[in-house]
């Protein structure tokens, strides 16, 4: 599903953000990407959702080396990746339902099918009463659920979430993790980037620990609580 081989990343002539990072993710796996703020988690995710290309090394996604992807192929591959951004990145002028519908519209899904699926998903994440609400009128937690719904509406093979629990309380964070686990059970490979070590400890999934741009360890699966 995902293979990183000696990946080195830097912005322009700046320092190395990722240094010789190597790991692989099996299809259907669930991983936490942990580390302190500034360790390189978001940058690694940006490589994973094809917003950045490494300065050296090789990244293989879905069996393709991303270095050789054309613009059109990159766009097509992005449709297989759902992303929950730390700042949500909702389009402020579109309603919740239209924000969630975007990936399907881009993929050319017929409008009737798209409306039905979008409404069902928003109801599933508890926003059935806010379908036509603009993001600015929703709370942070509600905006986050819209962002999650947008990330999963296209049934992605790979789901990436960048600090998804940063804007919710502990109970909300646990509920969110259960939602990601539910999606993982449906076959989606999940990578959650977080610095919330306490939360990570409560869920028995593998960890990719990153410190100063280096992958220190792939933690073994913790024992179930």
């Amino acid at each position: 599903m995902v293979v990183f081989e000696d990946v080195l990343l830097r912005y322009g002539a700046g320092p190395d953000i990722l240094q010789k990072v190597s790991f692989s993710l099996a299809p259907g796996s669930f991983h936490f990407l942990v580390g302190q703020s500034g360790a390189g988690k978001s940058s690694l995710l940006r490589v994973l959702y094809l917003a950045l290309k490494p300065a050296s090394g090789r990244v293989t996604l879905f069996g393709r080396d991303i270095a050789g992807l054309s613009r059109a192929e990159t766009a097509t591959m992005r449709r297989r990746i759902g992303v929950v951004f730390q700042d949500f990145r909702l389009l402020g002028h579109l309603s919740a339902v239209d924000n969630v519908a975007l990936p399907l519209r881009i993929a050319g899904t017929p409008e009737a099918e798209l409306r039905k699926n979008t409404r069902e998903l928003l109801s599933w994440v508890g926003l059935g009463q806010h379908l036509e609400a603009l993001p600015a009128t929703l709370s942070g937690g509600q905006q986050q659920r819209v962002a999650i719904a947008r990330a999963v509406i296209g049934r992605p093979n790979l789901l990436l979430a960048d600090e998804p629990t940063g804007n919710v309380d502990d109970r909300g964070a646990v509920r969110l993790m259960h939602l990601f686990e539910e999606l993982n059970r449906l076959g989606t490979t999940v990578v959650i980037a977080t610095h919330n070590e306490a939360l990570v400890g409560r869920f028995p999934h593998r960890q990719l620990r990153i410190e100063d741009g280096q992958l220190r360890a792939v933690e073994p699966l913790p024992a179930p609580a």
Binding site: L52, A75, R78, R89, L91, G92, L102, I106
Partner: protein, 289 residues
Amino acid sequence: MLRHDLPPDRDAGFFLPAIVGFMVFLAGLALAGRMATENLLARWQSSIESAFTVELPPGPEESQGAAEVRQQAVLAVIAATPGVASATLLSDAEKWRLLSPWLGTEAASLDLPLPDLVAVATVPGAAIDLVALTGRLQAASPGASIDDHGRWRGAIAGLARAADLAALGLLLLIGAAAAATVVFVTRAALSSHRRVIEILHLIGAHDGYIAGQFQRHALVPGLLGAVAGSLAAAAAFEAARRWLPGVSPDQLSLTPLQWAGFALLAPGATLLASATVRYTVLRALKRLV
């Protein structure tokens, strides 16, 4: 309203229709003016082509009676020619009236010898062999010649070509200016919608999808501007036709077919603007990561 993923903005909401409308207004005036001129020149050309003048020099020491016999013989030759609608021998008064712009109104008193002139009208489309006719006329009246107004025909044809080139050049200039302005407005819109473009890219939009969003974003304002511009041009043309000093409405009229062609200006300009938007967006996106 066409659905699209871009937020409303001032560029597309005001500037684009205003620019497209103004450009279409100018293009409309140029087009209508050219079509009206074409009609006018065609009428002149047609009236010149369906007439010629026979010039009969006076015979030496010829009596009045002999001259009349010769004139009648000439008229008989002309009347017997297939394709001739009418032939009229101009009176002295008519000849002096024709000469008065050059010789003045007092010229008639100078007793200058003038050739006889026969104004001949032909059946429209008739092909008369003027060389053969000249031969027959010279047999009836030595020295007779035909003026087929070739000099004027050439001048009108030249004027028509010049008007065509001027109109074409003007339309090309207006089109280029409109396209350049649309490129500028589109680049501004690309800059202000950068965040939206990035999000669309990240969730899997191809460049063509994003370009399509910009096209949809611009289509309705552009069409509204183009329709308003072409209506304003039509109104201005009609006003000029009716109230311009020295111009009669009939001289500057358009046929229904020409008005239909004029009506295509708005959709044509909208398509041009839309294609320009698409081209500009696709080029700009290729420069992005």
